[in-house]
Symmetry: C2
Subunit: 456 residues, 2 copies
């Protein structure tokens, strides 16, 4: 099928692996807006933040200027267990589509957590351990982040307390069990363990929870228990910093074979994968050294970029977290229950929001049946069963490749394949059985949520 | 943690990948016993076998003399999608155990099928396609083989009909759904679709099926439908041939870094992984070029090697298949329902049976709670959630490493990590909840099954 010199999978040698994360903010002229104290509406200080987050992570969160931040040796050693992740040339998909485009994907599902989330989980666990903490708290929805954090905490001998959105807890018992295998405690949220949980339960009896609600519970538990801090798997600047390992490896592998992508595509929920994948490419673009077309893909049922508002908003339902400026649908927004495709967070990374607002990237939204159709098409030829989240990027990569087929252009397309779909078979089953539909929020609905944004 | 030159993961370059499978039988002085016609008890001819199997696979099944059999280019191209698989130095496990032993594992779970089964599935699908067949039939228990075959058939555009042991079909709906994603049809066995299925249902109403029964149904469907053949994921000589890719890659990677294993450990159900992993090492041993300690690990609840009989036996319950000489517990033997660890087949590869009988390898059996304990210990430090099947080898690798700790010997231990346990979380849950026990068949039970062996 191929006689070209570019292998199916490009792996870096250990010696070629990045030794520092890349801090994209250093190259941004318009810096991302700071987190605000929800009471005073003043920028959060390091001291205020360090009640919630580990100290070194607070520094990373606030550092808008240091370009390269060294990856500690212990983290690099852990990365070696599952990194470098492969950069794959999708020869089989290209052939199936009959496209002249060259398609590459960076596959982050080759570890037990099953997704890219481990890249930041291990970093956050490392800094927690270094600070001498007992443990960390977090929330998880579909369970990828919770799984990754459980693995990381197990590795460093940290206690790990996960608040799992109740509907996922009940629908995804296997995810829960993986976390238990790694020694984490998993509580369905909202729970009666926290004040904010009890309050939400009193106001909404029978609720099956949301990410925003689980975040509130995790934060409360962290700040009210000695020796604990809260950690988060997306949205934050520190998370994008850690995830830059994805883009750095990708760029090193492409440079090695003299490949230059024309289009870079990533799925976008809170922005952790997209921000990591594009980081060094966006850096070149910001510095004027190269140009790339960069596309964020989001679900039509949770369209923060394409139909949201760029404004300060709460990160959680209980409003205990700092305020972040971001493209948001409003902190009360929850995608329709029939949405099975992940990427459900109401907001978006402040870094990516600023870059999008400045016109450095595009965004498109896609319907979930189209996403699952792309997922299945990809799985059948490329031999990887993608997570629904990841399949958003596949959908647009295929769409762009088909445009190349029409025009005859031999564009090079790169996308991020963030993880595997082993724990999403209920959603696949719905799709196979024709029971999946495409709910899209109306303008009126979105306006009603936007009207509740804090006035800042 | 490490400053050694040997990387965490050793990958071969594409140019270093094997271009031919290695046929271990060529180096065996005592050849494996031939398959016998169940009616005449005469060796099965190529013509007889070609009613059941694809023609080229029949040749491979019967060829005891050609040492190297070229891997067709189409198969090598498919292999490139997920191979070479990594050979991993288990630095973290070594550190956790505090052992001076050096532990390596060849990880075959890095593909959507989640196990080594894909290595033979793609080969068998290729030959079926080449012969112009419409499709293939097979059976699956836990679902690894069915998943792998579905992927392979999807790739070549072949129809794929899977008989899935009924209890697995009901307990593992996600496995079934993965197969559907790849376009396979999946039928719970015993079914009313086949004569043998109806007969078994009449004799055992309410039975939840067995591998031996599903095999009978798959074979009947293949031989009674124009353009179909039967394919099998283990036991057969052809399967071990294809799986030699595991051992060949392992040996090439070890040779590259001048590593020589002292002990080689593999889990053994029907023998597909063990036979593939050890092939080139065993070849050296048979030729007197090198010596290795080779250990087959099987479940205490299904102990073919350690407590079985070396005799001709039926491969299936319906007795429609040829007879094979093997270490067997009797074709009616089914492990206790509380056994969750896989490796449930009553017999064992004829090749491995002969080698074991000739004293070229050892066998041990392990209890399932010990297996899951090893699985969890491994997962927590190595970041891979192993399939219960694979964890049998982990158990013995840890045991051997702990012996080295006692003696201070720096032995090099190699084991095969055949796949991931994402679809085995029910079993992990049982283990976590303390609801897993260790049923071991009594001597009387085994004797009663052995008494029913065919007299040949």
């Amino acid at each position: 099928m191929t006689n070209e010199k570019i292998p199916y999978k490009i792996y870096l040698n250990e010696s070629e692996m990045p030794k520092a994360w890349y801090n994209l903010r250093a190259d941004m002229k318009n810096k991302p807006a700071p987190l605000l104290n929800p009471a005073t509406h003043q920028p959060m200080t390091a001291e205020e933040l360090s009640g919630v987050f580990c100290s070194e992570l607070v520094q990373q969160e606030l550092d808008n200027h240091t370009r390269d931040i060294e990856i500690p040796e212990d983290i690099r050693n852990f990365y070696k267990m599952y990194r470098p992740s492969p950069l794959v040339r999708a020869y089989c998909l290209e052939e199936k589509l009959g496209t002249p485009a060259k398609i590459y994907y960076k596959f982050e599902g080759n570890n037990t957590s099953g997704s890219h989330k481990l890249n930041s989980a291990i970093a956050q666990a490392y800094y927690a351990k270094k600070q001498g903490l007992k443990g960390v708290t977090t929330e998880t929805g579909a369970g990828q982040w919770g799984t990754a954090l459980s693995m990381a905490c197990s590795y460093f001998g940290l206690d790990c307390k996960v608040y799992m959105v109740k509907c996922s807890y009940e629908q995804k018992p296997f995810r829960r069990e993986v976390m238990r295998t790694y020694g984490a405690s998993v509580t369905p949220s909202p729970s009666t363990e926290t004040e904010v949980g009890r309050k939400i339960l009193a106001e909404h009896p029978g609720t099956t929870g949301s990410l925003g609600c689980a975040i509130s519970e995790a934060v409360e538990t962290a700040v009210t228990n000695e020796g604990y801090r809260y950690v988060l798997g997306s949205v934050l600047n520190q998370v994008l910093l850690h995830q830059s390992i994805i883009g750095l490896e990708t760029k090193a592998a492409m440079d090695k074979y003299n490949i230059k992508p024309d289009i870079i595509i990533g799925s976008a929920g809170g922005g952790s994968n997209l921000g990591g994948l594009i980081a060094p490419f966006m850096g070149e673009k910001l510095r004027g050294d190269a140009d790339y077309r960069i596309i964020a893909v989001e679900p039509a049922s949770c369209p923060s970029f394409t139909r949201g508002v760029y404004a300060y908003d709460f990160c959680d339902t209980g409003m205990v977290c700092p305020l972040a400026k971001m493209y948001t649908l409003g902190s009360d927004f929850i995608p329709s229950a029939n949405h099975a495709g992940g990427l459900r967070y109401h907001g978006m990374s402040s870094i990516l929001s600023q870059l999008y607002d400045d016109g450095f990237m595009e965004a498109v939204s896609v319907k979930q049946t189209d996403v699952f159709q792309a997922a299945e098409e990809f799985a059948r030829v490329e031999g990887i069963l993608p997570a629904p989240e990841s399949a958003h990027a596949i959908r647009v990569a295929i769409d762009e490749a088909m445009k190349c087929k029409e025009t005859g252009e031999e564009k090079t397309i790169l996308f991020g394949l963030t993880g595997t779909g082993y724990f999403d078979m209920v959603a696949y089953e719905k799709f196979h059985d024709g029971q999946m539909d495409d709910y899209i929020p109306t303008d009126e609905e979105l306006a009603s949520y936007a009207a509740k944004l804090p006035q800042i």
